[in-house]
């Protein structure tokens, strides 16, 4: 009887986890492998398995549009993450000043997170459109020289997407950092106060350094939002003007499905995975090292 229980105790978790594990193996890693195989073929409309080595990758590296998409992703993710962290931290510090109606303000700042990127994108597109939104409003109010036409300027359009994305996500970062602030060891802070340190200095030297892990998880979460961004750009600019705001995810979709270049699209998918790995592998490495 006891041995049976022992057996169950030992194997039950594994049995329960097996189906999800299997599904993950097939539908994540299996399909990554399949995608890699596809990227080595000549597939166009449908998958075919005549192999052509790394031809698609060479073509990808030759494509100016791909590098533009990568550059956009780089600009977008770096600015998106830094602005979210900076504004999120600022908001969190303000809210942490034991203000009245804290719950009310917290909700207001967190609310954009509840919207879908499509809704955010559509609203910001209206607001930033020179003929409908901000620019027209200010001109109608009498500031006839006011221009804010980034949305229709191929050089600047990518920054309007950053504005919308930061608006949506900085409240979320605020909540994460606020939780971090609440966990700060106040004995040290009080000691510093007694020693006569100013509040900004206390924040800079004592509190913010303690938030390291929170910053780290925020960056990982924001990074994956940035890499996945697709609908926001579709709603705001559809990749335009021209294709100046195209991102790798849109590039992949366009080539795989609209242009019938399945293998080429697959190769861009592999490059995106590679890009994610550059960030995730060090993270995993640190996490695993901690446990050992």
């Amino acid at each position: 009887m006891k041995s049976k229980l022992n057996f169950l105790e030992h194997y039950l978790p594994k049995i329960v986890l097996a189906p999800t594990f299997l599904i993950m193996i097939i539908f994540i890693y299996g399909f990554i492998a399949w995608n890699f195989i596809l990227s080595l073929t000549n597939s166009k409309l449908l998958p075919i398995y005549t192999f052509s080595g790394f031809k698609q990758y060479y073509a990808l590296f030759d494509s100016g549009k791909w590098w533009l998409a990568m550059e956009n992703l780089f600009i977008f993710s770096s600015l998106f993450i830094s602005f979210c962290l900076a504004i999120g931290l600022l908001l969190a510090i303000f809210i942490d000043q034991k203000i009245k109606f804290e719950g009310f303000f917290r909700t207001i700042y967190l609310y954009p997170m509840a919207l879908s990127f499509i809704a955010t994108g559509t609203v910001w597109q209206w607001m930033l459109n020179p003929g409908l939104g901000l620019e027209k409003l200010l001109i109608d109010l009498g500031f006839s020289n006011f221009t804010f036409d980034w949305l229709v300027d191929s050089e600047m359009a990518i920054y309007t997407i950053i504005i919308a994305a930061v608006w949506q996500s900085c409240g979320f970062v605020m909540i994460l950092l606020l939780a971090g602030l609440r966990g700060v060891n106040y004995e040290v802070v009080n000691a510093a106060k007694i020693d006569g340190a100013s509040m900004p200095l206390i924040y800079w030297k004592i509190i913010i350094p303690q938030l390291g892990p929170v910053f780290f998880s925020s960056i990982i979460i924001l990074l994956h939002i940035a890499i996945k961004t697709f609908d926001l750009v579709i709603a705001m600019t559809k990749g335009g003007p021209g294709f100046s705001t195209i991102l790798p995810s849109m590039f992949m979709y366009d080539y795989s499905f609209a242009r019938n270049k399945l293998a080429f699209g697959a190769s861009s998918g592999m490059m995106m995975l590679f890009f994610v790995m550059i960030f995730v592998v060090p993270y995993l490495y640190i996490e695993l090292r901690k446990k050992n």
Binding site: K65, G131, V152, G240, G242, N260
Partner: protein
């Protein structure tokens, strides 16, 4: 016993009936109100003949979503009976061995006679009909608000030179000369209209249908790019991202004077309650009077496993090219019948002129497939051309650089 007998009879009758009728699935992306109603006519006609229509309409992405579904269904071995596929994609699907042979229906209904040869060729793979055309849209129209022209004291242009003169006057009078939608396909539509106008039918065919490298790099192509830049200078700066129907609205609201767009723009004017010839005009885009840049929608027929389904599929193909459906559908959708010799009775003035232009262009050699609307080259090459056009349009690229880039990106996709 009697009950049993009647049951047997009923079963027998049922099986006989089901031999002749079958349910076939039709995949398409005609999902907007007017379009859905237009295609609904086909459903009614098919069901009258005893077959069943299983509607599989997939919205979004200009058909890209529908194509994605179609691909996954085809790979899984379960394609629909008919799917809305157009242009060179028909041959790509046929090459993969998915499409059914419609020659029997075609022969019985004399498709070779009633379809202009150029249209018929789009529907064939190695001499066999594999698809059936539904309608023709003419691309090279210019939609005009005559009131704006009058206020500006400008003349409706027939050449690009006249266009520039008129546009200048209109701009001076405080109107937007050209209502543009800044989306790649719309920019490409204007571009191909210009290529046809500047270079003529022969040049258009060489460059955007046969993809002749010399033509792509030629001075004429450079001039086409310069003309595109000139046209852009007469659009407003809020154009990027604008949908085509909003651009059309600018014309009928009297904010803008002209729009370059296919004949589906007519629907927008009609919905707004505007009158042809009074509130708006449709004229040939500059220098393209005799030519007909076409965009054909079609159904490709997929091989079916059961005879009954094949029969229903053949019936569908026959119905699509029947005079009755051609009239109802095209009248609703704003296109014209793909078949020659359909009664002109119920069509409006613009459609009639489109039909006349089609008739005459079918005899001269100025019946040309649209590049921007996936009729002349495959989607990969089309994408490459549109990329260059839209990059040129939205940057300060010089026309000589654009021409070089056009040739090299087309070559890379061939």
């Amino acid at each position: 016993m009697r009950n049993f007998k009647s049951m047997i009879t009923a079963l027998f009758l049922f099986s006989v009936l089901s031999l002749h009728s079958a349910e076939i699935e039709v995949l398409h992306w005609w999902t907007s109100g007017g379009e859905a109603k237009s295609v609904g006519a086909l459903k009614t006609m098919l069901e009258k003949s005893g077959h069943k229509w299983k509607d599989s309409s997939i919205a979004g992405g200009n058909g890209v979503n529908a194509m994605t579904v179609l691909k996954s269904r085809a790979v899984a071995g379960n394609p629909p009976a008919a799917a809305q596929i157009k242009g060179p994609s028909i041959q790509e699907w046929a090459e993969l061995g998915f499409l059914a042979n419609l020659n029997k229906v075609a022969k019985a209904n004399k498709w070779d006679k009633v379809l202009p040869k150029r249209f018929a060729d789009h529907m064939k793979y190695k001499g066999k009909y594999v698809a059936v055309p539904v309608n023709v849209h003419r691309i090279n129209w210019m939609w005009v608000n005559p009131a704006v022209f009058k206020k500006a004291g400008a003349k409706i242009p027939t050449t690009w030179k006249e266009f520039e003169v008129a546009a200048k006057k209109i701009k001076k009078a405080g109107f937007i000369p050209v209502a543009a939608g800044g989306q790649p396909w719309q920019e490409a539509t204007v571009f191909e209209t210009i290529v046809l106008g500047v270079g003529g039918a022969k040049f258009y065919k060489k460059a955007l249908v046969d993809l002749d490298m010399k033509a792509l790099k030629s001075k004429t192509m450079k001039k086409a790019f310069d003309t595109l830049r000139m046209v852009k200078s007469y659009t407003d700066k809020n154009a990027p991202g604008r949908d085509w129907n909003l651009a059309t609205a600018m014309v009928y609201k009297g904010e803008a004077a002209m729009q370059f767009m296919g004949d589906w723009a007519k629907g927008e004017f009609k919905v707004a309650g505007k009158k042809i010839g009074v509130d708006y005009l449709a004229v040939d885009a500059p220098q393209t009077a005799g030519a007909y840049l076409y965009n054909i929608d079609s159904f490709a027929m997929f091989k079916q496993k059961s005879n009954a389904k094949t029969k229903a599929q053949n019936k569908l193909a026959q119905l699509v090219l029947s005079d009755k459906f051609q009239t109802i559908f095209n009248n609703r959708k704003g296109s014209v019948p793909v078949k020659l010799g359909v009664s002109k009775m119920p069509f409006d003035d613009i459609a009639l002129r489109s039909m006349d232009a089609l008739n005459s262009a079918a005899y001269t050699k100025e019946l040309l497939p649209s590049m921007a609307h996936q009729m002349s080259v495959n989607d990969a090459i089309k994408g490459a051309i549109v990329d260059v056009v839209t990059e040129f349009y939205n940057s300060k690229m010089s026309s000589s650089k654009a021409v070089k880039k056009l040739a090299s990106s087309v070559k890379a996709e061939m």
